[in-house]
Every structure is written in structure tokens, then in C-alpha cells.
Amino acid sequence: MSDATLNTQAAEGEAGFGDYFALLKPRVMSLVIFTALVGLLVAPVAVHPVVGLASILFIAIGAGASGALNMWWDADIDAIMQRTQSRPVPSGRVGAQEALAVGLALSGLAVVMLGLAANLLSAGLLAFTIFFYAVVYTMWLKRWTPQNIVIGGAAGAFPPMIGWAVATGGVSVESVLMFLLIFIWTPPHFWALALFMKSDYHEAKVPMLTVTHGRKSTRTHILAYTVLLVPVALGLGLTSVGGPVYLAAAVLMNAWFLKGAFDIWRRPEAAAEADGYAVEKSVFKFSLLYLFLHFGALLVEATLRSFGMGGW
């Protein structure tokens, strides 16, 4: 063999570290880290910083692992949709079987290590979250029902509950309400996006509410879920993790979000098209702020409580 036979054509499967990191959906992971951290910090039981850091890291790795499993299973539709064509698997930088291996290995590592670092309940909840996202949402619901966003949203709602379980070793009304806050927030957030994004879900044969039930029905769904969100968000303020700061913030944000959902509901499609979906875009942007500020207000209450202020 001479030097001339050196093979430089093995681009596929020769992924860089960044490609593997991209498999873990880092943007989704950042939301998971934030909400899990809030769940852990607002709990009434103090956690050693090293245990807390390790637990958040393993929750994040578990969430990332479910993202890798999602990319393995959805490689066919990711290759069709423009938004997802550059992901590591459809672009050929990482093999589908590699994504599966990374997903399974990191899932096992994250669950076992969270069980050892924190407790079995939090590890069990993390295992269920991965199963729910990878199997129930990705393999089953996503291609079967236009309510996929609603039920799949549960996977994104578990992290604060897991954070709370890390600290307390249990589940309580506070952690259930934090779960419900994200769970019910997810549909109006995604459907607002679906209204103004030119998506190619139809070509990929993924049922989206905007396609299966029409845009008017999607607007009604957004309003319905936003109304359902109000008692959950305000109710959380009346529990032990809430307080005047959180409640004041929640009242303002829910009033604003409700107004936005109402505006989306009442406007005809022609008007939306005419102004380039300005209302839908602003409601989508506000929905991001809505979730961030709710959990941020919970953190403020926890900080105030540690100084003998805040809370009820």
C-alpha cells in the first residue's frame, strides 16, 4: 500500500464532537436545565451543591439522550423537512445507528447515575420521561394524531418535577402544578408558531392541527388552552412555593397571554396574512417570556424566603 491509497472519503460516520452534541438538542436541554434547577431550588429541602449539580447534569443528559433517540427514529422525516435537514443524522454526519447507540447509552448512564446521586424516585421519573418522549411521543403519537404536541408536551413538563423529587424524594401539589404549567403552556406555544411558520409537515406526513383541522380550529385551540392555563399558573402562586411577587407576575402575564390568545382567535386568516402574522408572532415570542418569567418569579420567591421575606 502506498500513501496514495490513503482513504479520505470516510466523511460519513466521522463526526466531530459538536455533531454528537447537536444530537442532544442543546436548545431543548437549556430549557430542561432551567426548569429542573428551579424545581430543585424552590423545594423546601436543601440539597448539597455537588449533589444538586450532578443531578441537574444527569437530568440534562437524560433529556439529551431522548433527543438523540428522537433523531434516530425520525431520520426519514427530518430528511424531508427543510427545518431539520441539517440535523446530524439526515445530513449524514452521524449514522442513524450511532444516534441510537448514543441515545441508549446516555439514557442508561443518566438514569443510573441520577439514582445513585439523588434517589430512586427522581431516577424513575427521568426514565419515564425518556420513555415517554422517545416511545410514546416520537414512535407513536407524532405520526398518528394532531394532538401530538399536547401529549408530547408532557415530556418537556417533567424536569421541574424531577428537580423537586431530587430534593424532597417525593411528589407534591407544587411539583404537579409546575408540571401542569409547562404541559398546558406547550400547545398554545407551538400552535402559535405553526400558524406563521411555513412548515412541510404535510410532505413528511406528520399530522399537524393546522393541516388536519384547519387554521380557524387551531386558533380556537390556542384560546382554549390559554384559558386552561390561567388557574394552573395562579394556583401555583397560592402554594408553598408561591408568594406575592409570583402571584403579581402571574396575574399580569396571564392577562397579557389571554389577550394575545383572544386576538389570535378573533382575527380572520386574511387579516393575519395581510400583516404577516404579526399578532401570532408576538404571542409566540411572549409565550417564551411567559414561561421564563413564571419560573424566574418562583426563584425570586425562594431567594426572598431565604432572607426571611417572600412567601405566604
Binding site: 466531530g16 464532537f17 455537588v50 447534569l57
Partner: protein
């Protein structure tokens, strides 16, 4: 003569190897810190095995 040409693929391999190496180092450091915290949180004095008979650790036969 040694091959000096650096293909783009070598850069990717290097980034992968360095990344995995750093991740493993971080994991080891975290495990060490976690072990220290878990063991010290058990409370009480921690005695190491030192190859010397320690009457204080012996279980009394009469008990």
C-alpha cells in the same frame, strides 16, 4: 516521507477525541466529588483500613 497533509476529517477526529476525553475527565472529577460528599455526609468518624490490629474495632466475644 511522512504525510503532512491535514484533511478536514483529521480536524473532526481530533475534536471528537478531545471532546470525549474532556467529558470523561469531567465525569471522573464529578464522581470523585460526589463520592466525597456522600461519604462525609454519613456522619461519624471514618476509619481507614491500615493493616494493623485495632482493638477498638474488635467485637467483644462476651457481647
Amino acid at each position: 516521507m511522512a504525510i503532512r497533509a491535514e484533511h478536514e476529517i483529521h480536524g473532526r477526529r481530533k475534536s471528537r477525541n478531545v471532546g470525549v476525553g474532556l467529558a470523561l475527565l469531567g465525569f471522573v472529577a464529578l464522581m470523585f466529588a460526589l463520592s466525597v460528599v456522600k461519604i462525609t455526609s454519613l456522619g461519624g468518624a471514618i476509619e481507614g483500613f491500615d493493616h494493623v490490629a485495632r482493638p477498638a474495632l474488635a467485637v467483644e466475644a462476651s457481647e
